[in-house]
């Protein structure tokens, strides 16, 4: 306790107990928090980047089988989910704005809407996964994906190569969904505190930082949707 009282004494005007002693100003503290999230997002870019790289390599090698696998996915459900995520990004952006403007009620409404949209995305994703299980498109002993390669009626689909497509599909969308689940959890905690009036124009760092994370997860989906659902759709 001695250390903290010494540190407190070092601050000339120590009016805000939320200001940690190793920061000079609240603004610096806030900048450090969001910069920390940006550094974390940089590691996330590398994390998802590895999977995108694997996808590109195998798509290059097994072009036709990937096209056939892509055509078996539902553009309607995938497109709806894209729209749902974009709407949730808007509600997050509006939540941050509401906190900045001290609109406590709007903040809580936006946070709840974000969680509902996030859960809606996960629900639709669950329906898609269910369809894939029913169709035996899940890699493993029961994998069954008959047909031919798009634009080549004489070339049957290679079952091994198609399983690589579906493995990447499940891993990439699955890890994306895991990020969504974590995001919904973060917003549940933030909503809890927002209802207790913790956030306002004086302090909204958790809302902003969780928002950055949510927008990043949205961006990952913005790339997953065309790469997994839309390639070779025209054939």
């Amino acid at each position: 306790m001695r250390n903290s009282s010494v540190a407190a004494a070092n601050h000339e005007a120590h009016e805000n107990p939320a200001l940690l002693h190793h920061f000079a100003t609240e603004e610096q503290q806030k900048d450090a928090a969001s910069l920390g999230m940006w550094v974390f997002l940089a590691t996330e870019i590398m994390f998802f980047g590895g999977m995108f790289c694997a996808y590109l390599v195998y798509r290059y090698w097994y072009f036709g089988d990937f096209g056939a696998g892509s055509q078996s996915l539902s553009v309607g459900l995938g497109g709806t989910n894209t729209a749902v995520l974009i709407c949730s990004s808007l509600t997050v952006a509006l939540a941050v704005r509401a906190a900045q403007l001290d609109q406590r009620k709007t903040l809580v409404i936006c946070l709840v809407l974000t969680m509902l949209l996030g859960l809606m995305f996960l629900g639709i994703k669950g329906v898609e996964y269910h369809d894939k299980f029913v169709e035996h498109h899940v890699p493993g002993p029961s994998f069954h994906f008959p047909g031919h390669i798009p634009s080549h009626p004489d070339v049957p689909i290679n079952q091994q190569h198609a399983q690589i497509f579906f493995s990447l599909y499940f891993v990439m969308t699955g890890l994306h969904a895991l990020h969504m689940i974590i995001g919904v959890g973060l917003f549940a905690v933030i909503t809890f505190y927002a209802m207790r009036n913790r956030y306002g124009s004086h302090y909204y760092t958790p809302v902003e930082v969780a928002g950055l994370y949510w927008h990043f997860v949205d961006i990952v989906w913005i790339y997953l949707f065309p790469l997994l659902y839309l390639i070779d759709r025209h054939k």
């Binding site: 900048d31 940006w38 940089a42 870019i45 553009v75 808007l90 961006i219 790339y223 390639i231």
Partner: protein
């Protein structure tokens, strides 16, 4: 990160642009452009991602310069990962 408070109009505008981009990319996927289908899809995705980063994630108004340094570094590392890996795999069958 920023004291800047964006207007409601801007947020709604970005949201509509993102929805329009999604619709556009679905429509473009249905048209046979040959090898340019992938180019068009990824260009639209990159424009959408840029809008999200600049306006929803407030990078356009960030006064902390390190934010941009981190972001540009991350994109640069990703470019190294993808470009060098693809340069390898794309030339393996060359004799």
């Amino acid at each position: 990160m920023s004291e800047h408070i964006s207007s409601l109009k801007l947020y709604i505008g970005i949201w509509l642009a993102l929805l329009a981009g999604t619709l556009l990319t679905v429509i473009a996927a249905g048209i046979d452009l040959g090898p340019f289908n992938a180019v068009v899809a990824l260009t639209i995705a990159t424009i959408k991602a840029t809008l999200v980063v600049l306006f929803f994630m407030h990078v356009k108004y960030a006064h902390e310069k390190m934010t941009k340094v981190v972001l540009i570094s991350a994109i640069f590392w990703l470019a190294i990962l993808l470009a060098l890996s693809m340069a390898d795999y794309a030339t393996r069958l060359w004799t």
